[in-house]
Amino acid sequence: MAEMDTSSKDTGKKGPGVKKGKKMSTRVDLTPMVDLGFLLITFFMFTTTMSQPTSMNLKMPDDNKDTKEQNIKQSGALTIWLGKDNNLYYYNGDLLPDLSNVKTSTFKEIRKVILEKKAATPPDDLFVIVMPGNQSTYKNIIDILDEFSIDVVERYALVNKVDPAYEAYIAKFDTLATTGGK
């Protein structure tokens, strides 16, 4: 391709009857080889997995052992409910019977809430409780646990068996959030 055969120029006259020894060029056109090389590179680049999946450790409390009697100071407790459509509801300390101390938040704003709580309470008292609602997703759970590691919250608990009463509260807030938004 596009390679000029210049070899015949140099041969010169050798008289009649003398056959010209045609010298072939030793240069090989590498363009197709480069094409092939880049094709393979593209293939490997697309199939390769550069980022290895990581894993997050989770320790659950033993239900059979009576470990529920943990000393949680009411002043240092922060409870977060995971609701529908990535909504979060949180309250400090104990839940008031009329639910008036529950505030609504989102995953973007919850960092501020956690950090404020962290700044306001002595480190040994801080305890964050997560109660996922039935409408929350696996992503919500991972996100909130990740949020704790981002904010360096050492003491937290994921409540696996949410009390039916609390489930009802979360459902109530979910309906409030959906009707209030419209």
């Binding site: 596009a2 390679e3 000029m4 056109d29 590498l30 363009t31 080889m33 480069v34 090389g37 880049f38 393979l40 590179i41 490997f44 680049m45 199939t47 390769t48 997995t49 980022s51 290895q52 999946p53 990581t54 894993s55 997050m56 450790n57 989770l58 320790k59 659950m60 409390p61 033993d62 239900d63 059979n64 995971l82 960092r111 950090l115 996922p132 609602g133 039935n134 409408q135 929350s136 997703t137 696996y138 992503k139 919500n140 759970i141 991972i142 996100d143 646990l145 990740d146 590691s149 981002i150 904010d151 360096v152 696996n160 068996k161």
Partner: protein, 230 residues
């Protein structure tokens, strides 16, 4: 007066250097590549800042897809066979040794006990997201039975070889973004009821947001360790 000769340059570019570069890159990619494992069930894992690499050997993998179906898998073939054998005797499934072996080599287990016999004959191509999954509802949590069998086999392996495979075994949970909490709760229940209280959840790595506490912590640790290294 002679005319100034215009020297004609060849339009031919030497491809050798480019070829060298191309093959150098190609070699790099061939050597570093690790093919995406053939996943029968597509699962989009959530992202987290966790930096620990998920175990690639000696794992028990519980997958939870976006419909909330649970699947079980492991890379340990002998353990799988023993577990299926144990389930077979416990539940009186009447599986032949050949069927047990076939089940063990299936890439995933994703059906109820009753369906296992037919499942062993299924071609690998039919194992996709249409599978019913292992029942995990709270009345009939078959995953719990599976985990119980796994724990029993693990204990058995440990008693034979205390430093062997049984010790290194890791339980990994791989859930989809869209999986709902009730199913996740049932999976957790299947684990905690069998006193498996520590497990790992697979996530996609994500950078630590700048300015956060963890970021500051990592930076201050980096600052204290640099003088030691330097």
């Amino acid at each position: 007066m002679g005319r100034a000769k215009v020297k004609r340059n060849s339009t031919n570019v030497d491809m050798t250097a480019m070829c060298d570069v191309a093959f150098l890159l190609l070699t790099f990619f061939i050597l570093t590549t690790k093919f995406k494992p053939d996943e029968k069930i597509p699962i989009n894992t959530p992202s987290s800042v966790a930096s620990k690499i998920a175990p690639e050997k000696n794992f028990i993998l519980i997958s939870l897809d976006k419909q909330g179906h649970a699947f079980l898998n492991s890379d340990m073939l002998p353990l799988k066979e023993q577990v299926i054998d144990l389930i077979n005797t416990e539940q009186n499934l009447g599986l032949t040794p050949n069927e047990i072996h076939k089940l063990a080599v299936q890439p995933i287990i994703g059906t109820s006990f009753q369906g296992l016999k037919a499942y062993s004959q299924m071609p690998a191509a039919a194992l996709n997201s249409t599978l019913p999954g292992i029942p995990i509802d709270s009345v009939n949590n078959q995953l719990q039975v599976w985990m119980k069998a796994i724990v029993a086999v693990q204990q058995n392996m440990l008693s034979e070889d205390p430093e062997g495979v049984g010790k290194k075994m890791a339980i990994i949970l791989k859930g989809d973004n869209m999986a709902k909490f009730p199913q996740f709760k049932n999976v957790i229940a299947a684990l905690t009821e069998n006193s498996i209280l520590e497990f790992q959840m697979v996530t996609t790595p994500e950078g630590v947001p700048t300015g956060t506490e963890l970021w500051k912590k990592a930076r201050s640790q980096g600052a204290t360790t640099t003088p030691v290294n330097g």
